[in-house]
């Protein structure tokens, strides 16, 4: 009975968003703004309700559920199925996707009002949720990859949503191409696993891998490295992180859903899901942690020097996912997923609050032209305060503190001193840029007419998502315990007495960061402005504003040589050889078409000549 109803509920989680997409895209523009939003939000709401039902069943009887819908293809032993698997990990992801997704869809109804093409917007958003649900529920790598590519496509479509500006189209291109680089790695990793193990079923892979490979086997290290490449591309980690900041060209709810809460964390999910492979490759796991540490530092410094609200948040997303990679590197998979969950809450809150500010200030998102908004936009201000405190891991009251503390503790417990230090520095930076963001946006004097004439958002659609996410971003959200027991490998056990010391230090760092930033931006604004506009300060500012010049580096090293190569290859030798045949055919055509004169006598003469030639040849042949 239980099994039967699960086999009905699980497909519904992705069929409902798919139905939304189909209704919206087949309506052919006949649905109005309100109807489109209703369809988009309702399908998500139903999916969220279904998820709640699934969660209730799972809590009543925690076990792995599997549903095989149908077989994809059948070639001898290769029989990938369209199958869904539910365990604690996918349930956590599913909850984030449908729950946070529903709130963001709801908020988008307010954010997008009066915009062109709302039907298109909701069709893409629902399609995204459909792909993302398949990604986390798929019981084999093929279905996971299908979802993985689907979310990439939706990300592309939604970044380029305002397609009238060509810059947005280029941003979408960039996101698509850069993440595709990672996807190629993932695909090759998948092929390698299939080649070695003969199956794509995830549970089967994890079961067979330790039987086939010893720890540190080069093949499994290569497979893990390739999977890591995919995760790095999707989760915007060094060196494939450059797309995320530009992806902010899309509407803000898209940034909240795709580029903060769900899609960019798919890499973390992938590594946690394939934990058995990564545990067999300790070097790659170590590399994961190092990538995370480097990214969180790089993004932290870059976030300090951004002027666009959304770009600050984008870099903070990179840095928070860096923390998740840090946790994965230490083998603390559950800590990574826990931080993934709290991050989804508070980053969605921050993005939606930023969206509220942006719409209220007539689409002004440059912090240099905002300021003094806390009186006019109390709800967005509250969202920023709660979300910002969670981002900066304010001790005890915020959700971010509990998850980040867990990650830092695991670094200490597993003996990664250097990575712990990087995490601490990153925490300090996080506090700095968070306070800077809030003070520049909400305090001081309004610096433009758009900020002076801000109109606060009204209505349930605007308020409810912000309030719910704000509640989830406090310590209440940290009470949600992802059901991950006995599912992910246990992390290292450390000396418990050090845990409290570490908590105190981490709390001290966060508070110190906040205090320093508040002192700098409230009291020493003039001093700061002077030092960032000349000499070394200005140079550093530009350097961090351009995110360590990595974009320029890629432009020089990859894009420009590639374009040069293309220009050279436009007239290459091989093309010339191929065109020779075309030229020959053209010449023959020219010659033969000249014989078509239309003169009857010429034809008769040619026939006679031809016949004579043939007869002569026959006569003279031996």
């Amino acid at each position: 009975m239980m099994e039967l109803s699960m086999s009905l509920l699980l497909p519904l989680t992705f069929l409902l968003p798919l139905a939304g997409t189909l209704i919206l895209s087949l309506s052919n523009g006949r649905l109005g703004e309100c109807a489109s939003a209703t369809v988009g939000v309702t399908s998500m709401g139903l999916a969220a309700i279904v998820t709640v039902l699934i969660a209730l069943q799972y809590i009543a009887e925690p076990q792995a559920y599997g549903v095989t819908l149908w077989r994809w293809i059948s070639v001898e032993d290769f029989q990938p199925s369209i199958g869904l698997a539910l365990d604690g990990l996918s349930l956590t992801m599913l909850g984030i996707i449908t729950g946070v997704g529903f709130l963001i869809h709801l908020f988008a109804a307010w954010y997008m009002q009066g915009e062109e093409g709302i039907t298109r917007f909701y069709a893409y958003m629902n399609l995204f949720v459909f792909s993302m649900v398949l990604l986390v529920l798929g019981d084999n790598l093929l279905l996971l990859f299908f979802g993985w590519e689907g979310v990439g496509l939706c990300s592309y479509l939604l970044i380029g949503y305002y397609y009238e500006h060509s810059a947005n189209g280029w941003a979408a291109f960039k996101a698509f191409i850069v993440t595709r680089t990672g996807d190629v790695f993932l695909a090759i990793g998948m092929f390698l696993l299939f080649f070695e193990l003969g199956t794509l079923d995830i549970a089967e892979i994890l079961r067979r891998a330790p039987e086939v490979w010893a720890e540190g086997d080069p093949t499994v290290e290569l497979a893990a490295l390739l999977m890591l490449g995919g995760a790095v591309g999707k989760s915007a980690q060094l060196p494939l992180h450059t797309w995320l900041a530009d992806a902010m060209a899309g509407p803000t709810p898209v940034s909240a859903l795709i580029h903060a809460a769900t899609m960019v964390t798919a890499g973390v999910y992938l590594i946690a899901r394939m934990n058995g492979i990564f545990l067999l490759a300790p070097d790659i796991l170590e590399l994961t942690g190092i990538i995370g540490a480097l990214t969180l530092l790089m993004a932290g410094f870059a976030a300090l020097a951004q002027t666009d609200i959304k770009r600050v948040l984008a870099y903070s997303t990179m840095s928070q996912i860096g923390y998740m990679f840090l946790a994965l590197g230490a083998g603390a998979f559950d800590a990574a997923i826990f931080h993934l969950m709290t991050h989804a809450f508070f980053k969605a809150l921050l993005f939606l609050s930023a969206g509220a500010v942006i719409v209220s200030c007539h689409h002004e998102q440059d912090m240099r032209r905002l300021g003094g908004l806390w009186r006019q936009l109390p709800l967005a201000y509250a969202g920023f305060i709660v979300g910002g405190s969670a981002l900066a891991a304010l001790p005890l009251v915020s959700a971010g503190f509990y998850s980040k503390d867990e990650i830092l503790w695991q670094q200490l417990a597993s003996g990664h001193g250097g990575l712990l230090l990087a995490g601490m520095v990153g925490a300090f930076l996080t506090s700095l840029y968070t306070v800077r963001l809030i003070i520049l946006t909400f305090h001081g004097k309004p610096k433009s007419d758009n900020a002076r004439n801000a109109e606060a958002g009204r209505g349930l659609v605007h308020g409810v998502p912000l309030i719910v996410l704000a509640v989830l971003s406090t310590f209440l959200g940290a009470w949600i315990d992802p059901p991950l027991e006995n599912l992910l490998p246990a992390p290292a056990e450390g000396e418990e007495s050090w845990h409290l010391v570490l908590e105190l230090v981490a709390a001290g760092v966060a508070i110190a960061g906040i205090a320093v930033a508040a002192w700098l931006y409230l009291r020493r604004r003039g001093w700061l402005a002077k030092h960032t506009s000349m000499g070394w300060g200005a140079w550093l500012w530009t350097f961090w504003n351009h995110a360590w010049g990595i974009d320029e580096l890629y432009d020089r090293v990859l894009v420009k040589p590639y374009r040069g190569l293309v220009r050279i290859l436009r007239r290459d030798v091989i093309d010339g050889a191929c065109n020779l045949f075309a030229k020959l055919a053209w010449l023959l055509h020219q010659g033969l078409s000249r014989t078509q004169t239309g003169k009857l006598r010429f034809y008769a003469t040619s026939m006679v000549a031809g016949a004579t030639l043939i007869l002569l040849a026959l006569a003279l042949m031996p």
């Binding site: 078509q596 239309g598 008769a604």
Partner: protein
């Protein structure tokens, strides 16, 4: 009949054929072209008759009947074309109808 050797008959046929062919190649007037065609057909018919007589076979005369039928059909189609040519171009010059270069 048996006094005429086969070679003479065949040479006559070849000469007639050559005359017809020359007319076909060098004449521009469609009437003469059709006449040349008739001469060529008849030369072929003559060759069949000569051959059939020389070897005492009836197929030569049967083939000649076939050739005459063919010539009649050809003439009717050719004359129809000739009338059309005259109507459209007010001339019998075949080069005038070379617009399609076909």
């Amino acid at each position: 009949m048996s006094g005429v050797p086969m070679e003479h008959g065949l040479v006559l046929a070849a000469m007639l054929f050559a005359l017809g062919l020359a007319g076909l190649m060098f004449r521009r007037n469609m009437v003469f072209i059709l006449m040349s065609l008739e001469i060529m057909l008849n030369s072929a018919g003559l060759a069949f008759i000569v051959g059939g007589t020389a070897w005492g076979q009836p197929e030569g005369q049967a083939m000649f009947l076939l050739v005459i039928t063919l010539a009649a059909a050809e003439a009717s189609v050719g004359l129809a074309l000739l009338l059309q040519l005259n109507n459209r171009f007010k001339t019998l010059d075949t080069d005038a109808a070379s617009r399609m270069r076909g």
